[in-house]
């Protein structure tokens, strides 16, 4: 579903000095390849910092997809109709698929799947802050598809042109599937907004709760985003956090107006001169609190993932035993 501007969250000890083996000439040659828009492939030479940045970003992205199944999974058994249920099942299955594409892309950089899973479960690795908010009503499923997947698309479309080939290819696949997610979300909102007063109020309440966290998904403001410049130079990132956030607001506000919903921001207004919507200040303290593990659902999300991992242990064991047994039989 989404990776956010979390790359600046790298811990200082990860920012080791570059390997002595990296000569200035190698680094310059690598930068020339990036400047020429050449794709970098798995076995190509790359600066250690480039590899580390990508491992962090892609694995965080993968973790976000996997954890992102939970808020939506919460409504699978309570979807209002069989049609809504099969659609939501398909969407949640897509999120699992996106996680798998991304883990595979990260593995091409030499990090193992087990290491990434361990880092998620131990809390060492981050995932998108948005998934630490609760889905209280059915309208939240609509708001997630419309806003959260909408924000994800803004961020992910440029990632299809990322300099790292395996990541770019995974993102092409993800983006193709993501527009179904956004449309099904908008469809849920549209139906609710065309319904009774209570249904419309439910849609408005969901927008009220998801609007600001959705804007936070783009990560800290450019002035506070330390690693952006390097990621831009390496062509991992194509647009700044603030540019993407602005695009999202410009695209989404008219959709809210169509639905007859009010965006919960008293400062929101259209600037005729710039052709952009101007919006109020984001509560960055909330963003950092959620990232630090103190959002509404952080503990619950990780506990549930840990339980699913533990409950699946016997299945993994059995599959391995079965494969080993058949390998012996075939050899005989």
């Amino acid at each position: 579903m989404y990776t956010q501007g979390l790359d600046q969250q790298g811990k200082p000890e990860q920012e080791k000095q570059r390997r002595p083996a990296e000569s200035e000439a190698e680094l310059r040659a690598f930068q020339r390849r990036c400047d020429a828009e050449e794709k970098i492939e798995a076995k190509d030479w790359m600066p250690e910092a480039y590899r580390r940045t990508l491992v962090r970003q892609i694995s965080q992205h993968a973790h976000s997809e996997i954890i992102g199944m939970q808020p939506e999974g919460n409504w699978l058994t309570r979807a209002p109709s069989l049609k809504r249920k099969v659609i939501l099942l398909a969407k949640v299955q897509d999120e699992a698929g996106h996680g798998l594409y991304l883990y595979s892309a990260a593995e091409t950089l030499g990090v193992s799947r087990d290491k990434m899973v361990d880092d998620l479960l131990s809390g060492k690795a981050k995932y998108s802050s948005i998934f630490n908010y609760a889905t209280l009503t059915w309208a939240d499923i609509g708001a997630i598809g419309w806003l959260v997947d909408g924000a994800a698309i803004m961020n992910q479309v440029p990632l299809c042109r990322c300099s790292y080939g395996p990541y770019a290819r995974a993102m092409v696949r993800v983006c193709k599937e993501e527009s179904f997610h956004q449309r099904q979300g908008f469809d849920i909102m549209h139906v609710l907004c065309s319904g009774s007063e209570a249904q419309k109020a439910m849609a408005q309440d969901a927008l009220n709760r998801w609007w600001w966290p959705s804007l936070m998904m783009f990560g800290p403001s450019d002035k506070d985003s330390e690693h952006s410049a390097q990621s831009m130079a390496w062509k991992i990132k194509r647009f700044s956090n603030d540019e993407l956030r602005q695009k999202f607001v410009d695209a989404t506000v008219p959709q809210a107006e169509f639905l007859g919903l009010r965006v919960p921001d008293d400062d929101l207004h259209f600037n005729e001169a710039t052709g952009h919507y101007e919006f109020g200040d984001i509560d960055w303290q909330e963003f950092y609190d959620v990232l630090a593990g103190n959002g509404p659902c952080n503990r619950e999300r990780l506990a549930k993932r840990q339980k699913a991992h533990d409950d699946g242990a016997w299945v993994r064991e059995a599959a391995r035993a079965y494969a080993a047994k058949h390998a012996v039989q075939e050899a005989a």
Binding site: Q93, D94, S104, R113, E177, A313, A319, R320
Partner: protein, 95 residues
Amino acid sequence: MSHTNWPLYEVFIRSRSGLSHRHAGSLHAADDDMALDHARDTYTRRMEGVSIWVVRSDRIVASDPAETAALFEPAEDKIYRHPTFYEIPDGVENL
């Protein structure tokens, strides 16, 4: 913590008959059958394929990117292998 250690497989999908199989991505599986099942669920949820190949990644023999220049150099100066190398006189057709 239990670790999977399932081997890595590369997945190739034929999107429709008449086209060749193309690399779609990779996945982990305990054995070949599971790899095929996972490939179907992971890479063909929207009818992206009519045929799947899976092969263990460690069975693939690949050229070394560091040797790319040397490996492909012999083909570089043989421009006479391309039709555009030859000048065709005006008036000659169907050639």
